[in-house]
């Protein structure tokens, strides 16, 4: 657990020690790199995570996000086209009442947002959502 957490923090601060991960394919974007680093290249399932974002956001500065992954020990959020792909990571404690969280994130531009859940058995699940970021009005 502690190891995972430290790993996540390391990714977030942009220190991508990719050289230490031989055998990983070339990645289309830094978010994929970060995800691969977190999973160690393990297979990622789909269907276990519900990720809800608006299809269109008038203000990329505050985009509401809701994520839910029953049975997850942690959930990490990635935005592939942000300057730093790591957005936020939730680690659930013993008194967590559900594996659901709502927050607000920044999106630099129109892009895909990914939620990656680490499950109790060590497997991974993920979900993606596409958000169109339009230009705001009077500020």
């Amino acid at each position: 657990m502690e190891l995972t957490r430290r790993k996540i923090l390391a990714i977030g601060s942009g220190t991508l020690a990719l050289a230490g991960l031989p055998g990983l394919p070339a990645f289309a974007n830094p978010a994929q790199e970060a995800i691969a680093l977190l999973t160690g290249g393990a297979e990622i399932g789909e269907g276990g995570v519900t990720l809800t974002l608006p299809e269109m956001a008038a203000d990329g500065g505050t985009v509401p996000l809701e994520v839910s992954a029953p049975g997850a020990v942690s959930i990490a959020i990635f935005a592939e086209r942000n300057p730093e792909p790591g957005v936020v990571t939730f680690t659930f404690g013993p008194l967590s009442g559900s594996r659901s969280v709502s927050t607000r994130i920044r999106l630099a531009e129109t892009q895909e947002v990914t939620a990656l859940a680490t499950m109790e058995d060590g497997s991974f699940q993920m979900a993606k959502a596409h958000v169109d970021v339009t230009v705001g009005g009077c500020g």
């Binding site: 505050t62 230009v135 009005g137 009077c138 500020g139």
Partner: protein, 424 residues
Amino acid sequence: MTMNRRMFLGTTAAASAVLSAPSVLADGHAKPRVVVIGGGAGGATAARYIAKDSEGAIDVTLIEPSKAYYTCFFSNLYLGGFKDIEDIGHSYGGLAATGVNVIHDWAVGVDRDTKTVTLAGGDTVAYDKLILSPGIDFVEGAVEGWDISAQNAMPHAFKAGSQTELLKAQLMAMPEGGTFAMVAPPNPYRCPPGPYERVSMVAHYLKANNPTAKILIADPKPSFSKQGLFEEGWNTYYAGMIDRIGPDFGGANVSVDPAAMTLSIDGEVTNVDVCNVIPAMKAGRIAELAGVTDGNWAPVNAADMSTKADPDVYVLGDSAQQGDMPKSGFSANSQAKVCANAVRGALTGSRVFPAKFANTCWSLIATDDGVKVGATYEATDEKIAKVDGFVSTTGESAEIRKATYEESEGWYTGITSDMFGNAV
């Protein structure tokens, strides 16, 4: 490639030729008649430009109940003590001098079949083209416990004048360490940064006169115009004084009791000393009476501001549902000039040029600390669409902020002389 002059004239001449036949005038009068309802940033500008540019070829009548017009823009600066109430008051003498027939009365009805406007005084006024610029009214029942009869206990002050003076008087009468509450409106509404500039100005006043007082904002919106700039300023100048409760913490679940002077946010009741309730807004009532609204606002065509409901009725400013422009005095003034050019062209065959719109909103956060946001717009088939824009940034130097404030003062003088002409 650059177009030469002849090519350029050729294209515009062709464009205007299509519109050169004056629209059909009702029988029995020599000159085309334009009636404008509402003498604010939209209406006064439209009336003045049509009268000025048509040089007597069009009869222009402006119907406006107030003899003195107080601008909503800069009214927050009066609350903050930066302006006197006289500084934001204007007469209609300059418009009359430009040849506009100014009638001080309420328009209470529009008959689009006979093309007449009925006045509260009983008269009717006939038009060939009607321009409505009535500003805003409030959606009934928008804030539980508040209706227009409560505006003396809990002023909105979102129509400038006596309401603004009342709010200022209440602010000055606040007990030491009291609470100034604001119920902020949901989108869309007049002047997106307005409530937050108001909070800044109230805080400026309180910091000097009642430094232990608090400001409580209940806000149904998750974010607001120039939020980063305002929050930066609030933290710098008014740290600890301002508390904004957004929808996450019940800012959209609000009720007030004007008799008890309480504000309830998500069931939690707070005693307040001043309560500035700014309810949800809709188009001014005459737009609804004229039958040109759809829902709360009046949909218009971007090219000339004519309504979707009637090509001879135009709606300007806050009441219009036009697309991307914010509801602001600058926007209304910009729309009015496009409309004036189109109306004059339709009535006299004068040249009609392509619609160009712009808006800039300045806000004052503290002494010599002004910020601005602006954009340019164009007419598309669907709406007025944003082309380009800019916004002040956080962390700007004091010199830039001071220049921005001085610029806003210059703009105020500019737009008010553009609206009203120079009074004689």
